[in-house]
């Protein structure tokens, strides 16, 4: 098989299980492809090829003996470098790291291991996952596999770049203000930011725990369904992990979508660049083609929500970093340091007001915005794919405004905690971009069904040819 790296994780797992390809062959191809991706995009933090190849041989032996039955048995993956793994220290994309190796795996790492997936590398992220563009003044900036002069989006930059390039079919990321959706959109792939609380955060580096959400980036929506089915559910290690039943996301991929209503808030969307507004219309046309009905909707005042989410995030992140900001400020890159400092100036009363208002705003969104729709469509980026140089603002005076523009359509959704599926826009030879579909709480299965129907019309693409 010459197109291993173009397969979905689900299809590759089936091929390995059926003996059409070995895990060793798949992992060798993936390591080769990931190394090439790194040359172009700077996506790798740590390559663990020898360990992965050993694990692949073990998997092949187990399959031959009839003993490897996990949903992702033998599939090589790689993840954002912010998850605990027993005996290792994650980089967090930073100079400041944990003092000692993790004693156990993060819950999401355990879940993927339990399904038989291999891990061949850890991947680039913005320093401390605190940045929406892929700039990292400690590791070096990530570059977009479609055009290396452009941003990858962040903070899950390496995962998106590697997925888009065809080095991995999917990987883990996190989202506090857009960190799954922005890189997915910039790199022309899909992502799921689940409902807040759907996936355990245990063992994941905290940024702003009231907002932090662990999720996945993939080329194929079906892989998001497979992956979320493995990750979702209660966890004694994370009291915020919801005890709600986890649907069979894969079984519901082909749920009918005809007649579902997709809402467009024209007031909010009008704040995007005209080209981005046109992209939203192109996606809406595809969604209408597969049977959805377009309808108007209105979110609560978007700027108010954007301010409220900052009132939550800034002090939450500042508190998590308080000790290092006092004792090791020189070890931060300029941008993250400048952003973390701001949180120290938010009064506790304002922080708590934003937290107390959160339920009211979610209720208002569900009762009014979603009253006559099933999902809402929003841009992800406010602008066409930016150049790395254009957003290389470091910790300078324009950082809040520049970053605020990048997360304009993503950060408020974290305040609402709602699930969000990112889909790439029809590219037509141009640079990638994406939209987000926002669902009701815990309605990820519905989002996947819509995404699956969309990808029948707009199939996944690789950023680089397989012979590249």
């Amino acid at each position: 098989m010459t197109d291993l790296v173009a397969l979905s994780a689900r299809a590759l797992a089936a091929a390995i299980r059926d003996g059409r390809v070995s895990s060793l062959e798949a992992t060798q191809a993936a390591v080769h492809r990931l190394a090439a991706c790194h040359e172009l995009t700077h996506c790798i933090v740590s390559l663990e090829a020898a360990d992965a190849l050993d694990a692949a041989r073990d998997t092949d032996a187990a399959i031959a003996a009839g003993g490897a039955a996990g949903a992702l048995a033998g599939v090589p993956l790689a993840h954002k470098d912010m998850f605990d793994r027993a005996g290792r220290i994650a980089s967090w994309g930073a100079n400041i790291r944990a003092d000692s190796p993790a004693e156990r795996d993060a819950t999401v790492i355990s879940a993927l291991k339990g399904a038989g997936a291999l891990q061949m590398a850890t991947l680039h992220l913005t320093e401390f996952a605190y940045g929406p563009t892929g700039h990292n003044y400690v590791l070096g900036h990530a570059r977009n596999p479609w055009d290396p002069a452009r941003i990858t989006g962040g903070s899950s930059a390496g995962t998106a770049a590697a997925v888009a390039y065809g080095a991995i079919p999917m990987g883990l990321g996190s989202d506090t203000g857009g960190s799954l959706r922005l890189p997915a959109a910039c790199c022309g792939v899909t992502s799921i930011k689940p409902t807040w609380g759907r996936v355990s955060r245990a063992g994941a580096m905290p940024l702003a725990p009231a907002l932090d959400t662990i999720g996945l980036i993939a080329r194929h929506v079906e892989d998001l369904a497979v992956g979320l089915g493995l990750l979702a559910g209660p966890d004694p290690r994370d009291p915020a992990a919801a005890h709600l039943a986890v649907p069979d996301y894969v079984a519901r991929l082909d749920d009918p979508v005809q007649g579902l209503r997709v809402g467009l808030d024209e007031t909010v969307t009008s704040e995007a660049h005209p080209d981005v507004q046109r992209m939203v219309e192109e996606v809406l046309a595809v969604l209408e083609k597969v049977g959805l009905r377009r309808a108007p909707c209105a979110f609560p005042d978007w700027q108010t929500i954007d301010h409220l989410v900052q009132l939550v995030q800034l002090p939450d992140a500042a508190a998590a970093h308080a000790v290092f900001l006092r004792t090791r400020p020189q070890d931060y890159g300029p941008q993250v340091r400048a952003r973390l400092e701001v949180g120290h100036f938010i009064p506790a009363v304002d922080h708590l007001t934003a937290l107390r208002a959160r339920g009211t705003y979610v209720e208002r969104t569900l009762d009014r915005t979603f009253k006559d729709i099933d999902v809402a469509i929003l841009p992800v980026l406010a602008d066409p794919l930016p150049a790395i140089a254009d957003l290389d603002v470091g910790g300078g005076p324009s950082v809040q405004a520049a970053m605020g523009r990048v997360v304009k359509f993503t950060r408020p959704v974290n305040y609402l905690g709602l699930p969000t599926l990112t889909l790439p826009v029809p590219r037509s030879g141009g640079l990638p971009n994406g939209i987000q579909l926002v669902g009701r709480p815990f309605a990820e299965a519905q989002l996947f069904a819509i995404g699956q129907a969309y990808q029948r019309e707009v199939p996944p693409e690789l950023a680089r040819r397989l012979d590249a």
Binding site: Q303, D350, A357, T360
Partner: protein
């Protein structure tokens, strides 16, 4: 972890976050940003009921999940 003795306590009457080694311009920008957000917080606080609680968020999400379970992906379903 950091040595606690290396962390300076705030002095009475000291400026907010005086322990941060920030140039004056960045400190001023941070204060201005916080002040802008404070205006929104003040406005939102006026409309909140006294009983509004930080746990409302999780309760509302869970209630929304129950509505989703009932509605499923049935076309045009309204909770």
């Amino acid at each position: 972890m950091a040595d606690p003795s290396s962390i300076k306590p705030a002095e009475a009457g000291a400026e907010a976050a005086a322990y941060l080694d920030m140039p004056a311009e960045r400190r001023a920008l941070a204060k201005a940003h916080a002040a802008m957000l404070a205006e929104t917080a003040g406005r939102v606080a006026l409309e909140l009921p006294l009983g509004a609680d930080v746990d409302d968020f999780r309760r509302v999400l869970a209630a929304g999940a129950r509505r989703e379970t009932n509605a499923g992906t049935k076309p045009g379903a309204t909770p």
